[in-house]
């Protein structure tokens, strides 16, 4: 049986095919890793969160309250050792600022008057941060 496999030309082809397959696999895994990193990066997270909060503020009817989970943002900030303010709303310029890394951040302006709503970040529950918006 051993002599059946050894010293055959198929021996060389199998090792080359194996190396070829392994290198292909490494290449595919590297590409997938890059795509996953790009899709869950800080820039995408900051932009989607800022725009979601802006849409939420503008869509709310008077007398309503809305909650928006910030846990993902805070977890990302903690993982990247950013201890600054993750979310801030400037009532003078009607701007939402979201930042999860030491530099950069994303600003987005909302359409509603800043006097028509109030907000605070609820950290009362463990490992859960929630942005509470109240429309006056």
């Amino acid at each position: 049986m051993k002599n059946f496999i050894k010293n055959k030309k198929g021996d060389e082809i199998i090792s080359k095919q194996l190396i070829f397959l392994i290198l292909n696999l490494i290449f595919l895994l590297a590409i997938m890793f890059f795509i996953v990193r790009a899709s869950t990066g800080a820039a995408v997270l900051e932009e989607t969160s800022a725009k979601t909060v802006a849409i939420l503020i503008d869509s709310m009817k008077p007398g309503t309250e809305a909650n928006f989970s910030l846990t993902k943002l805070y977890d990302f900030a903690e993982k990247n050792r950013y201890s600054g303010q993750v979310i801030s709303i400037d009532s003078n310029t009607n701007t939402i600022h979201i930042q999860v890394l030491g530099s950069g951040g994303y600003n987005f302006q909302f359409l509603s008057s800043s006097k028509s709503f109030s907000y605070y970040v609820d950290k009362s529950q463990e490992n859960q941060e929630v942005l509470v918006l109240k429309k006056v």
Partner: protein
């Protein structure tokens, strides 16, 4: 003879294969980077939100709000809109025409959007604003009133 054939045609690990992989990898990385670097477009949502806010503030229970026709009607405060952002940023446009027993025309924001909205509705033009048009029939003092609205948004983001 067989081994020679295998040596010429069966070389899987050639330099050309690595080159092809590099080109494919570079293409995928470039495509992914361009995709995720581009803006998430919510302009249609914004123009619809403006339309809905204006409709909500103009019409109560199927009747046009009487304060709309008064001289001191404060559009932005009544409809809960940021005057500075809509009038001065150049990214928004609101056109309101009320006709019927009483009429009123209001235009705010970037007037150039009036034509741009027309182009954008007929062509696939990314740099042009995205607009919403709405026609509503309501009543005022028992008489029919027609309201036509055009709102447009070309807002991207504010750089830090």
């Amino acid at each position: 003879m067989l081994s020679k054939k295998i040596g010429r045609k069966g070389n899987l690990l050639s330099v050309w294969w690595f080159l092809v992989l590099a080109v494919i990898g570079a293409g995928m990385i470039a495509g992914t980077s361009i995709f995720y670097a581009s803006d998430i477009d919510i302009r249609v949502l914004q123009s619809e939100i403006i339309t809905n806010k204006v409709v909500d503030c103009l019409i109560n229970n199927g009747q046009v709000n009487p304060s709309v026709f008064s001289e001191d009607f404060n559009f932005f405060d009544t409809c809960d809109l940021n005057r500075n952002l809509i009038e001065n940023s150049g990214f928004f446009y609101i056109k309101l025409s009320i006709s019927g027993v009483n009429s009123k025309n209001l235009v705010f924001g970037n007037r150039a959007f009036e034509e741009d909205c027309l182009f954008a509705s007929q062509l696939n033009a990314k740099a042009y604003p995205l607009c919403t048009q709405k026609k509503i029939s309501s009543s005022y003092l028992g008489e029919k009133v027609n309201i036509e609205m055009t709102t447009g948004s070309n807002y991207k983001f504010v750089k830090k």
